[in-house]
Symmetry: C2
Subunit: 173 residues, 2 copies
Amino acid sequence: MTEKQENILKSALKLFAQEGYASTSTSRVAKSAGVSEGLIFRHFKNKEGLLEAVLQMSMEAAKMHMADIVMTTDPKELIGKILELPFKIKEEEYEMWQLTYALKWQTDSYDTSSQEPLKLALRNAFEKLGYQNPAAEAELIYMFIDGAATSILLHPPEHKSEILNALKAKYQL
Amino acid sequence: MTEKQENILKSALKLFAQEGYASTSTSRVAKSAGVSEGLIFRHFKNKEGLLEAVLQMSMEAAKMHMADIVMTTDPKELIGKILELPFKIKEEEYEMWQLTYALKWQTDSYDTSSQEPLKLALRNAFEKLGYQNPAAEAELIYMFIDGAATSILLHPPEHKSEILNALKAKYQL
DNA sequence: TACATTTGTAAGTGATTACTCACTATTGTG
DNA sequence: CACAATAGTGAGTAATCACTTACAAATGTA
């Protein structure tokens, strides 16, 4: 991975997240990265290949988080960790999450398979705690962290910790 | 409002929602509506004007819903109605909601002002019910309905009613 | 009927799009 | 050093973009 290649990925992430994938031209990416436009196609084949490379790079860190959470055995601890997830997104991760959330609505790119392990772990946790409908509770939490992440990414609320506390209270945490 | 004008709006809504605003060309809209491309610019000035007209048309119904909810005086009834909101989106309203949710991520188009009356009503309701932190509770619910709507619009879950019940239980409804 | 206004079309416009190609510069390896 | 592979450039390409313009058809109104 050369320096110019990294610059392309960084610029692409920034522009795709800020302006949208479709509205960002490869020439804009090249200019922002300080390289010739042809280099993008040499390294990433086409615009879609560039997007995939950007997503792959961005998702490395996220996968580590997930793996850690899924390993948690204590059900209350697991639920707590998942609820905290959207409230602990770091500033430097904003762009990648903005991009992935925006792409959800691009019909062809949506893929739910990465959510499954987390949902399964959640369902097990609620089962252990004797909840009446563990599957529904898991879906519910998943819906919530989606909404919370959206809200935080678009207009970070001032009282995050109070909101998180109100939320945790609903699960006696 | 002529028939061709209506066709343009319908086609634009459909295509903007399915393919995205930036990736949908005015010529595609014209073809889909069965009109000449020039007519779009005659009636709506430019592509952005077309988008605004589409959104305005789509939002008429939504505003009626909101108005009804904000008038509700009983706090528990109000909270219940708001929680039900995303679960009661009609099939024929999917496209407009998909479009508005997708546009959220287009930085320049995001506007939170329409959310304020609802948030205020929610805060009052939680105050009446003696919740410790009504503002945080209102934010929390707002985050949730956002996530629920997203989830339902992208991949409608099978057990909506069970999820809604699990949710209502958290507020003793 | 007369005529102004609105609705609609077809064929353009220059700019920008994703992408290619012929070429040079740099680097790794025997 | 030799020389192949890789990295990088700059000037192309045809297609498509949002939008305009000149003109015709339909409609409202006196």
